[in-house]
């Protein structure tokens, strides 16, 4: 499965590149990622939430890197869902913004796991990556992921609907949300 998405961020290429290159930052805006731990100059360990409250982990290495231009990576070893990704950064015509293009390729296995992964991405697999990039833009431009009463949990709002009413949260709801 190939997912391609694009956004424009009103920050210079070097800032956006640097933010992405610190791979630990990826879970702040990518919904499915729980943690990315850097293990070496080009290697890292990724943890993603998966269906049925399982989590999936894999090692990854950077395969291509041109500062202020692009980063490419791939999973290594026995990943449950082998994947590769690449992101490239292009100065926007306005002279102040950066176009971010992302391509993720998942090698979806057969069997139960494959079915679960497919269900996880749902009928519109693109939606998730589009929303990831929207959150990246929010973080880069405003400092954090935008929340509302109807959609209070930032990137954990995996499906935008159904949401809760547009009404302030009770302290119980707040505590539960923070803990989740």
């Amino acid at each position: 499965m190939d997912l391609l998405a694009t956004t424009t961020i009103r920050r210079p290429v070097s800032d956006v590149y640097a933010f992405w290159r610190r791979l630990e930052n990826l879970p702040t805006f990518m919904a499915h990622l729980e943690e990315v731990r850097v293990t070496g100059e080009r290697t890292s360990h990724w943890t993603a939430s998966a269906p049925f409250d399982r989590s999936v982990e894999w090692d990854a290495e950077i395969t291509d890197e041109v500062p202020d231009e692009r980063i490419g990576w791939r999973s290594t070893g026995e990943a449950d869902v082998p994947n590769t990704g690449k992101v490239w950064f292009v100065p926007a015509p306005d002279g102040v913004s950066t176009e971010v293009h992302v391509l993720l390729v998942y090698d979806i296995p057969g069997g139960k796991l494959g079915q679960a992964v497919a269900r996880y991405f749902g009928e519109e697999p693109h939606q998730q990556l589009d929303d990831d990039l929207r959150r990246l833009k929010q973080v880069m431009e405003t400092g954090e992921v935008m929340r509302s009463d109807g959609a209070p949990w930032g990137k954990r709002a995996r499906r935008e609907f159904p949401q809760r009413p547009a009404q302030p949260l009770s302290s119980d709801e707040l505590a539960k949300g923070e803990a989740a």
Partner: protein, 391 residues
């Protein structure tokens, strides 16, 4: 706290809801001192805007006192104790749209941007109390309200102007003004305004302020037309006379140079036939608008003129007079108001006495009576023009 909520089609209800808390670092909590009911709220209550949920707190026109600020709020811009009017579009101040002063198109303030994008092609800004399509933000018809990007939008009121004088800077005064500004008014212009609701009234006052030679108000409610007349505008009652012929008469056959639609998607029509057509299409959801005012504005406008649309449309409409629009070189301009752009200059006009926003207020009620306020306003009872609610 108490808050006015959407309780299904045609029903609002003041309920107990939790007090708001800070969810983002640049939030503030505002204790509401005055809030108002808007024609846009009627579209929500009448069920013409999708994605409403039972319990949604309504209200996008409000002002009050800052009682709490998040850690990220720039203290140079806003502090606890400040008295503020809050603009209805939530805007970050940092994206390309905000940089271009297109505040109601802010690219970062709508957490449900994905939904909005599906309906509109591109997302729109978050708006207080205005469906989940615009973010699912609790509104200001409540005792307290959470205000995101509190150091960007809210306007501090440092003089002793009353709430009533400045409250409408949150929406309808800037909206009416933008409606007139989009007309690029010239001194010889005749400007016709469809809708003598509060938004229409402010569009008329603004058109005059911007130098129009004549301003014509079109509506069917005699008391609303009287209000326009008392403010010095010419009036047409569309239930009594044929609007197009009357407009031709008033303009030597040319048609108004500039036309403003301050009615929106729920217009009523003198022609029962066309009205029934649109009612049925709206009811089966194959059309979301009843665009009589917009159609009439386009057909009436002078060739080469401008039609400025501030009445709200939500989806798709039928029988758009594209032929008139194209062949007669009309310019069509529109938008949810970029309120932040107009607050300061309009505050100055209020201070100078050039605009008097209080003239539209006919009812002031306790928040508790919000349902009655909606009834009065929607059904045009008791000569209701604009309702202010006090929490």
């Amino acid at each position: 706290m108490r808050a006015n909520t959407w309780a299904g089609r045609n029903k609002v209800e003041v309920r107990d809801v939790p007090d708001p808390s800070i969810l983002n670092r640049r939030d503030a909590i505002v204790k509401v001192t005055s809030t108002a009911i808007c024609g846009s709220d009627l579209h929500l209550v009448d069920g013409y805007v999708p994605t409403m949920q039972d319990g949604d707190v309504l209200g996008h026109e409000f002002m009050g006192e800052v009682v709490e600020v998040g850690a990220g709020v720039d203290p140079g811009r806003l502090r606890v104790g400040d008295r503020v009017v809050v603009p209805f579009p939530i805007a970050c101040g940092a994206c390309a749209a905000c940089a271009a002063e297109l505040w109601s198109c802010c690219e970062n303030s709508n957490p449900n941007a994905g939904i909005a994008e599906k309906m509109f092609g591109h997302p729109v800004a978050g708006i207080f109390g205005y469906s989940h399509l615009t973010g699912g933000f609790a509104g200001g018809q409540s005792e307290y309200v959470r205000v995101p990007f509190a150091d960007v939008g809210p306007l501090k009121i440092e003089s002793d102007l009353t709430d009533e004088q400045v409250l409408f800077l949150s929406d309808i005064l800037p909206t009416g003004y933008m409606g007139a500004e989009m007309c690029d008014i010239q001194p010889s212009d005749v400007v016709a305004v469809w809708g003598a609701g509060p938004v229409g009234q402010f569009a008329m006052d603004s058109a005059r302020l911007l130098g129009a030679a004549t301003v014509i108000a079109i509506d069917k409610e005699p008391y609303r037309l009287r209000m326009a007349e008392e403010a010095g505008h010419t009036t047409i009652n569309f239930e009594e006379v044929d609007v197009r012929s009357r407009l031709l008469e008033l303009t030597g056959g040319r048609g108004p140079d500039k036309c403003i639609d301050a009615v929106g998607m729920e217009a009523s029509h003198g022609s029962a036939h066309l009205h029934a057509y649109d009612r049925v299409k709206q009811a089966v959801r194959s059309e979301t608008e009843r665009p009589h005012a917009l159609r009439q504005a386009i057909l009436s406008c002078r060739s080469g003129g401008t039609v400025s649309v501030i009445g709200v449309y939500g989806g798709l409409l039928d029988k758009f007079p594209s032929g008139a629009w194209m062949n007669r070189s009309l310019t069509l301009r529109t938008g949810q108001c970029h309120v932040q752009r107009y607050m300061k200059p309009l505050l100055r006009h209020i201070e100078n006495g050039e605009l008097d926003p209080t003239r539209v207020i006919t009812h002031t009620l306790p928040l508790q009576d919000a349902a009655r306020g909606f009834d009065l306003f929607k059904n045009k009872q008791d000569d209701c023009e604009k309702v202010v609610l006090k929490p």
